[in-house]
Every structure is written in structure tokens, then in C-alpha cells.
């Protein structure tokens, strides 16, 4: 989602990295590029100006002082300033001591309030709560109908009645109390921030239900106007957080991120897909990491913990280290991985993935041939792919509906990978807590199997303090371990 911003920044940074001496002109050139990259990501003009001012001041100081590798220093400055701009604390939801905890959803038309109301309800439900949805958008035709349909899908009741949105919301609250629901989510009509009448109406709704949380839903594709809108809503409603919707496209969400800088309220949740499950709590620091090209490992791990079977994963890892990982194990792990959602999303969160893979747009379907090939092998072949000779290949290809070349390609890559795993195992890679050995970053030529990049980054993981902000942690481009050949 943020690839284009991060890849742009990487390109800029590459220019100055490693330069022995920087002139003011060098710095200015880099800053101009960064500025353009931020503006193209819809970061607010005012915010860009402020950040650029801070970066320039420090960068010029570095450029003029006789430090070693000033390029690297500038990179660090840029990194930490951007992290500061994008980062911040994750909004922690606390529940009201007098239930229900009331949530009010507000925003412009089409920002995704109704869908995100349902997604939020589902999220609360997954936290063991019992939400009630209230449809107080009585303006858009069929909005309540939409909410009811979504409510049925997630098995959450929906309350609404025709008439006045303010009294509907109030009745909804009473209903939640009567039913003993502990969370109430009120969906409201979309409104323009300059429509005084409608803003007054939502203020009244807010007054009636006294929300514990008021969320402003902002489309990730919004441009410069987002900040003004947020200010207006904040002035009327006292916003607690932002829900960023439609983050699954290629929009860079810079506008929504600027909102934090301007109204001082964090992005609380982000919607990353059309499915009702594609909705997660937003961790600004992690997102900063994603934007800066460092991946989002914490989210990835959380998702993995849900998707993978713990024992199986441990067993597989054991085998992996001992070099006994078979195609069967691979197949099994692949099934688990699929549960984590579309591959594209996972790739985006994975640290150190080279651009070629990130941009490859891998559809989940494209892994099917691999699955088919492995399934067409005998158990013996899966354990020892070395025994696959010409006639076996032909049989496997026929059985899986693929070509002989595809089969041998897979076998070849797998055996290369096995070799690599053995080497890694021998080095005792990645025991938790143990620092990874940079030596394992050995550049290999063969194929796309840049596995060595994993040991480089992995062992730092558990309990890594303040991930992206950590000085020297990663950084642009250079932070990406070099195991992957850039092109072939």
C-alpha cells in the first residue's frame, strides 16, 4: 500500500548514501525529492513544510560538520523525523465501567462509515464483547438496509427506526441498555464539514449518547482537504481517533496520516480490504516501519499466531534447521500461510522483501500449480526430491497439469533451498535472543532464493525495542539485507 512512497524515498536516499562529503546543494536536492514524494503521497502541505524545515536544519548541520559518511547521517535524520511524524502511540480502547461503551462514527459521504461500523462491531465481538449497531443514517437511501445486511453477516443486531437521527440514536442507546449490550456503535449519515445544519445534527447526536469514543472515518485516498475536514469535525465532536478506510489500494494515505499531526489524534483502526475481517487496530509506529520499507513484523507475527498451528510450526522449524524440511512440510506450511489472507498483504508486511517480489502482484491462484505439483508426487518423492528422474517428472507434470520444466524448476529450487537451510542450521541461526550472524548474509547467485536475507534480520526480532525508531535499525534500502539479487 505504501510501496510507492517507500521506494521513492529509497531511490532518493541512495543518491547520497556513501558520499564522503555533502554540500548544501546535495542536501537541498535530496530534500526536494523527499518533499515531492511526501506531497505525492498527499501529506498535507503545511505538515510537509514543518517536517522539511526540521530535517533541513539538522541535515545542513551534518553536511557541514566533518563526520564520517554524512550521507548515512542524513538518512538517519530523515528516518527519525518521518517516524516521528507518522508514529505515535496505538490508541488503547478502554471499556466504560457503566456499559455500554458508546462509539460514534462520523465522516464525509462515501468515506466508509457504514462498512467500518460493521467491521468495528466485528472487531469488538472478536474481543469478546456484545455490540449493538445503530443505523442513524436516515439520509442515504438504503443505508440502514446495508447496515442490517452487514449485521446479519457478522451476527450482530442492528437497531434503527425511521424519523429523526438524534432520537434514533438515543433510542438505540436505551435499547442497548435494555438488551444488556456492552458496546454500542452508532453509524451516522455522511456530511460535509461545511454543512452547518448537518454538523449541528451530529453534535446533537453526540450530546444525546455521550460517546466514549468518536471516530472520524477518512478514506486513504483523500487529498489535502482531509486536514480541514478533520479540524472541522474535531471542533464539533472532539474526535478520539481516525479510522482509515480503503487502505488496500495504492493510495499512500498521507492525508490521513497528516491528520494526526494536525489534530493530535491517532489513527485508531485501518481497513485493509473489502472483507469484514480485513480491519485491524492501527499501530502508527509499525505503519511508519512499513512506509519506510522496514516491513511490519509485529502485525505479521500476530496474524501468524492465529493462522499457524503452534506445534506444527515448531516441528517444521526444527526440521528446517536440521535440513530435513520436506516438500510435505512445505505444503503444510503453505496451507497455514494461506489462512493469513492474500499474499500481497503478507508481502507488504514482510521486512526486507526486494521490490521485484513486492511488485510482482502474486495472485493466490498462482501458487496452485506448485501445490498441484507437490500433490502429484509420491510420499517418497516428497521426502527425497533427488530421486525424481525423467519419467517421474513426466508423470508428475501430467498428474498436475503442468509442464516438465515447471516440475524440474520446482525441484531444483527446492534442493537449492535445502542446501541453504542446512548451512543456516549449521550456523545455529536464529535461536531466540541470539544475535544473528551477519556472516550469513552471504551473497549467493543462484535463483531467487535469497533465503540468506532472513537470518540477517530475524534474530533481532523478539522484543526489539521500539521497532522503527531504533537508531540504525534498518533504514532505507540499506536496511534490506542484500540476499536478493536485484535482477537476473
Amino acid at each position: 500500500m505504501f510501496e510507492s512512497l517507500s521506494s521513492r524515498l529509497e531511490g532518493v536516499i541512495k543518491k547520497i548514501r556513501g558520499k564522503g562529503r555533502l554540500t548544501e546543494a546535495d542536501v537541498d536536492e535530496v530534500l526536494k525529492e523527499i518533499r515531492t514524494a511526501l506531497l505525492e503521497a498527499d501529506v498535507n502541505v503545511g505538515v510537509v513544510r514543518a517536517v522539511m524545515g526540521r530535517i533541513r536544519e539538522q541535515a545542513i548541520g551534518v553536511a557541514l560538520s566533518p563526520v564520517l559518511d554524512p550521507g548515512q547521517q542524513v538518512v538517519k535524520i530523515v528516518n527519525s523525523e518521518l517516524t516521528a511524524m507518522l508514529g505515535g502511540e496505538t490508541l488503547k480502547i478502554t471499556f466504560s465501567s457503566r456499559p455500554p461503551t458508546v462509539v460514534l462514527m462520523a465522516g464525509l459521504q462515501g468515506s466508509g462509515k457504514t462498512t467500518n461500523s460493521a467491521k468495528l462491531a466485528r472487531w469488538f465481538k472478536s474481543q469478546g464483547r456484545q455490540p449493538l449497531l445503530v443505523g442513524a443514517d436516515l439520509q442515504r437511501p438504503a443505508a440502514v438496509e446495508q447496515l442490517r445486511t452487514l449485521g446479519r453477516q457478522i451476527d450482530v443486531p442492528v437497531f434503527s427506526e425511521p424519523g429523526d437521527p438524534v432520537s434514533t440514536a438515543a433510542r438505540g442507546l436505551a435499547e442497548a441498555r435494555r438488551l444488556g449490550k456492552d458496546v454500542l456503535i452508532v453509524d451516522t449519515a455522511g456530511r460535509l464539514s461545511i454543512d452547518t445544519e448537518m454538523m449541528e445534527q451530529v453534535r446533537q447526536i453526540s450530546q444525546q449518547i455521550e460517546p466514549d469514543y468518536t471516530f472520524l472515518v477518512i478514506d486513504a485516498m483523500t487529498g489535502q482537504d482531509a486536514v480541514g475536514v478533520a479540524e472541522a469535525f474535531h471542533a464539533t465532536l472532539a474526535i478520539d481517533g481516525v479510522i482509515m478506510s480503503k487502505l488496500d489500494g495504492d493510495a499512500r494515505g498521507g492525508a490521513a496520516l497528516s491528520v494526526k499531526e494536525v489534530i493530535g489524534r491517532p489513527i485508531a483502526f485501518a481497513s485493509t480490504g473489502e472483507k469484514l475481517t480485513e480491519f485491524e487496530q492501527f499501530h502508527p509506529d509499525r505503519m511508519a516501519g512499513r512506509i519506510l520499507g522496514m516491513g511490519d513484523m509485529l502485525t505479521l507475527i500476530e496474524q501468524a499466531e492465529q493462522a499457524f498451528e503452534k506445534e506444527q510450526a515448531e516441528a517444521a522449524a526444527e526440521k528446517l534447521l536440521e535440513g530435513e524440511f520436506t516438500l510435505d512440510d512445505f505444503l503444510e506450511q503453505m496451507q497455514q500461510l494461506k489462512k493469513m489472507g492474500p499474499l500481497g498483504n503478507i508481502l507488504g508486511m514482510m521486512p526486507g522483501m526486494p521490490k521485484e517480489l513486492k511488485g510482482a502482484q502474486i495472485g493466490d491462484d498462482e501458487l496452485k500449480p506448485i501445490e498441484a505439483i507437490i500433490r502429484s508426487m509420491t510420499p517418497m518423492e516428497r521426502r527425497k526430491p533427488d530421486i525424481i528422474n525423467g519419467s517421474r517428472r513426466t508423470r508428475i507434470a501430467a498428474g498436475s497439469g503442468t509442464s516438465v520444466t515447471q516440475v524440474s524448476q520446482l525441484v531444483k529450487q527446492f534442493s537449492e533451498m535445502q542446501k541453504m537451510m542446512k548451512r543456516m542450521g549449521a550456523m545455529g541461526m536464529g535461536r531466540p535472543g541470539k544475535k544473528g550472524k551477519k556472516a550469513s548474509k552471504g551473497k549467493r547467485s543462484g535463483g531467487l532464493l535469497g533465503m540468506p536475507n532472513v537470518p540477517g534480520g530475524l534474530p533481532n526480532l523478539p522484543g526489539m525495542p521500539g521497532l522503527p525508531g531504533a537508531p540504525g535499525a534498518g533504514g532505507f534500502g540499506d536496511g534490506l539485507p542484500s540476499g536478493f539479487p536485484r535482477s537476473k
Binding site: L39, E40, D42, V45, L108, G110, G112, A142, Q146, T149, Q153, I154, L192, S193, I194, M221, T222, G223, Q224, D225, A226, G249, A251, R252, L276, M297, L300, I301, A304, E305, A316, A317, F330, Q336, L337, M340, L343, M350, M353, I362, G363, D364, D365, E366, L367, K368, P369, I370, Q409, Q413, M417, P432, L448, L449, M451, V454, L458, L461, P462, K488
Partner: protein
């Protein structure tokens, strides 16, 4: 424990994707070789992917089949009759007469303060053109979402003219900018095309765009306006994905006295559009307004689905005379990507054109919609309609001069 997961994920990803990429690259190479053998112009850029496993046009698993009722996708041939909602044919004069009163940009924008104030105030009150003048101008353009590239381009031209002393005062500078911008928007074809193909050959206007830009609402308004001009209209609810989208459109159809065709929720949108066109042809209806589900331009499978809708709409008796991209005025720089991607996805062989126009919605808010300036000048897709409010009459033809004025108005 964490590192285990990461290692496994990395393993599967690197290995699995490695295989896919290598295969893909190989077949691209093969294709290229093949192409050059036959001495055809190489066209690797169009679709280098061989699409193993035949990425079907409709990929229901990405659109969450598990949460939807397992409605059976109706094949196109299925008798459509029982599913059709048949509204009473309302007499045209029942359509709200106020429709005739269409606001202009100016009347709507007069709410906002004039261009003389706001961003330009500082510029005009300065003696001469200074570095601050340029900063202010740049900021005004960027704030309006015009985009870095276009802004740089516009300002570079002006700087040259200031340097050559052609422009000397702030007033002249602002006038020059306005003239320049308006000039770039002139001469575009902003007409909504209707071809009279005789009986049984309805025009089809297809509305596309990302989620939440106001496609369904726009169709409702366009339908009402066309009814007001005495044309018979059929609305086809091609958004079978969003819950209750069809109900929303049905409400509009009823209000405007248009016919209405819908399919099963989660069904194939192409078949709904096809049914709509066939029905319009059979009843000699002038215009079919085809709604589609909002989709992000990055979702290949959904773009494929849209391509099919476009194809099917022209398959039978209908002729597609407009393919309109609906864009929300709050949209930032991503709008340009949207226009490019939708345009490329929908391009047809005979015309070479993907999108025939843009509808800019929600311009009555504080957002300026400057991105359409970039869309029109960079991609050549004209803005045809503008949404200035919630009522039917608030959908008006685009006017370049007033749009440019409004870009700089302080809200």
C-alpha cells in the same frame, strides 16, 4: 516463537513466489521470442503474464463468499423476468419540475469567498512578485490537490514570463495563471453522448469508480435529469456486491420514474447489465444507466470483472456511448492513478478509448477537486459533470472558468 513464524512465512513466500516469478519470467521470454519470430511488433507491456491457472474473470473467493448468502450466480441465459422489479411507468411530468432550475457553479460557489480573498490576498497586496509570491501560489495549487507535477509545470511557465518582464505585477501574474489553467481545459468535448440508433437500440452509459465516490447517487441524478428531458431511462443495478446497493438505486428509479433491473446479491454484474440492455431494447427505452460496484483499481480480478461488464454491455442491442469515471472531490493524488488504471482496463479495440469522461462529485464541500485538472490535462479525459449538492438539480455540466475560479476560493 516469533522467529519460527517469520522463518516459515519467509520460506513459503520466497520459495513459492520465487517459483511463480521464475516461471512467469520464463514464459514472458518465450512469448517475446515467439512474437519476434513472427515479426509482430513486440507488446510485452500489454500483458506479459501468461496467467497460469487461468485467472478467471470472476474470482469469488476474493470477494468473500463465506459471508454472503450462497446465492446461485445466474447464468446470462436464465429467464430474467421473475427477478425484475417492475416499477409503474410513471408519467414524465411527475418528475419534480424544479429540476429545470439548475444551479451554476457560480451561484453554488458564491457561498465560498471570492478568489480575491484567501490565498490570493497576500499575493495581490504585495509590492511586486517576490519569493513569497511563488511560495503562496505553489501552496494554493498544492492545497487544491492539483499535484506537484502540474503545479511545477504551471509555475515554471509563469516564472519564465516574469523573467522576460512579460508579467510585472501580482495582478497580472494571477490573471495569467487563471488564463493558463482555463486555457488548458478549453476545447474538450463535454457533451454526454446519445446516439439515435432507432428502436430497440438503447444507449448505455456505464458508471465506474472506486468505492464510495457516489456512483449510485450520480446515476440516480443523471436518470432524473434525463427523464426530465423526456427520455425513457432504465437503471441497471450492476453493483451486486455492496449490501443494499440495489435498494438504493431502486429508490432513485422509483423517484425518477425509471425502469429498474436488478440481479441476485453477489451475482454476476455482467448478466444484470445484459438483462438491463435487453429489456431496454425490448421496451424501446432510450437510455440504460449501468451501475457497477465500487472497486479499487489495484484489484486485478475486479478490474477484469469490469472489463467483462463493458464488453457485455455492448454485446447485444445496446451501444455504449459513455463510460464515466466518478471521482470524489476529496480525492488526492491517487485520482490520477485511478483514472489511468480504469482507462487502461476499459479501453476497447475499436475506439481505443477507455473512459469517455469524468464526473466530479461532492464539490460542494471544502475539497476543491484539483486532481481532475491533472486528469484532464495529463490523460485527456474530459470532466463532464459536477456534483454540487444533494438534490437532483445539483448535478451540473462542468465549466472550466468557474472551476478554476473555485480552485482558489477560500472556503
Amino acid at each position: 516463537m516469533e522467529w519460527i513464524y517469520l522463518a516459515l512465512i519467509a520460506l513459503v513466500l520466497v520459495f513459492g513466489i520465487g517459483v511463480v516469478v521464475v516461471n512467469r519470467r520464463r514464459s514472458t521470454e518465450l512469448n517475446q521470442e515467439r512474437t519476434s519470430e513472427i515479426v509482430r511488433p513486440p507488446r510485452p507491456a500489454v500483458d506479459p503474464r501468461p496467467q497460469p491457472g487461468a485467472t478467471g474473470v470472476l474470482e469469488p473467493d476474493l470477494r468473500e463468499p463465506d459471508l454472503r448468502e450462497p446465492e446461485v450466480v445466474e447464468p446470462e441465459v436464465v429467464e430474467p423476468e421473475p427477478r425484475l422489479v417492475e416499477p409503474e411507468i410513471v408519467e414524465p411530468q411527475l418528475v419534480e419540475p424544479e429540476v429545470v432550475e439548475r444551479p451554476t457553479f457560480r451561484s453554488r460557489m458564491s457561498k465560498a469567498r471570492s478568489a480575491l480573498t484567501g490565498a490570493f490576498l497576500g499575493i495581490r497586496t504585495r509590492d511586486g512578485i517576490t519569493a513569497d509570491t511563488w511560495d503562496d501560489l505553489e501552496e494554493a495549487l498544492l492545497r487544491a490537490d492539483v499535484g506537484v507535477r502540474v503545479t511545477d509545470e504551471l509555475l515554471a511557465g509563469l516564472r519564465a514570463r516574469v523573467a522576460s518582464k512579460e508579467i510585472a505585477t501580482p495582478d497580472a501574474l494571477l490573471d495569467a495563471l487563471r488564463t493558463e489553467m482555463t486555457g488548458r481545459l478549453e476545447g474538450a468535448d463535454r457533451v454526454l453522448h446519445l446516439v439515435d440508433g432507432g428502436t430497440g437500440s438503447p444507449n448505455v452509459w456505464l458508471f465506474v469508480g472506486v468505492n464510495g465516490v457516489g456512483k449510485t447517487t450520480t446515476i440516480g441524478k443523471v436518470g432524473a435529469l434525463q427523464r426530465g428531458e423526456g427520455r425513457s431511462v432504465l437503471m441497471a443495478a450492476g453493483d451486486t456486491f455492496r449490501a443494499a446497493a440495489a435498494e438504493q438505486l431502486a429508490t432513485w428509479a422509483e423517484r425518477s420514474g425509471s425502469e429498474f433491473v436488478r440481479g441476485a446479491e453477489g451475482g454476476d454484474p455482467s448478466s444484470v447489465i445484459f438483462d438491463g440492455v435487453e429489456r431496454a431494447a425490448a421496451r424501446d427505452i432510450d437510455l440504460v444507466l449501468a451501475d457497477t460496484a465500487g472497486r479499487l483499481h489495484t484489484k486485478t480480478n475486479l478490474m477484469d470483472e469490469l472489463r467483462k461488464v463493458r464488453r457485455v454491455a455492448a454485446k447485444g442491442a445496446g451501444r455504449v456511448t459513455e463510460v464515466l469515471l466518478v471521482i470524489d472531490a476529496t480525492t488526492g493524488q491517487n485520482g490520477l492513478t485511478q483514472a489511468r488504471q480504469f482507462g487502461e482496463a476499459l479501453v476497447t479495440d475499436d475506439t481505443g478509448i477507455g473512459l469517455t469522461g469524468v464526473v466530479l462529485t461532492k464539490l460542494d464541500g471544502s475539497a476543491k477537486g484539483g486532481i481532475v485538472f491533472a486528469i484532464e490535462t495529463e490523460l485527456g479525459i474530459p470532466v463532464k459533470l459536477v456534483g454540487l449538492g444533494e438534490t437532483i438539480g445539483d448535478l451540473v455540466p462542468f465549466d472550466p472558468a468557474q472551476f478554476v475560479d473555485a480552485l482558489f476560493a477560500e472556503s
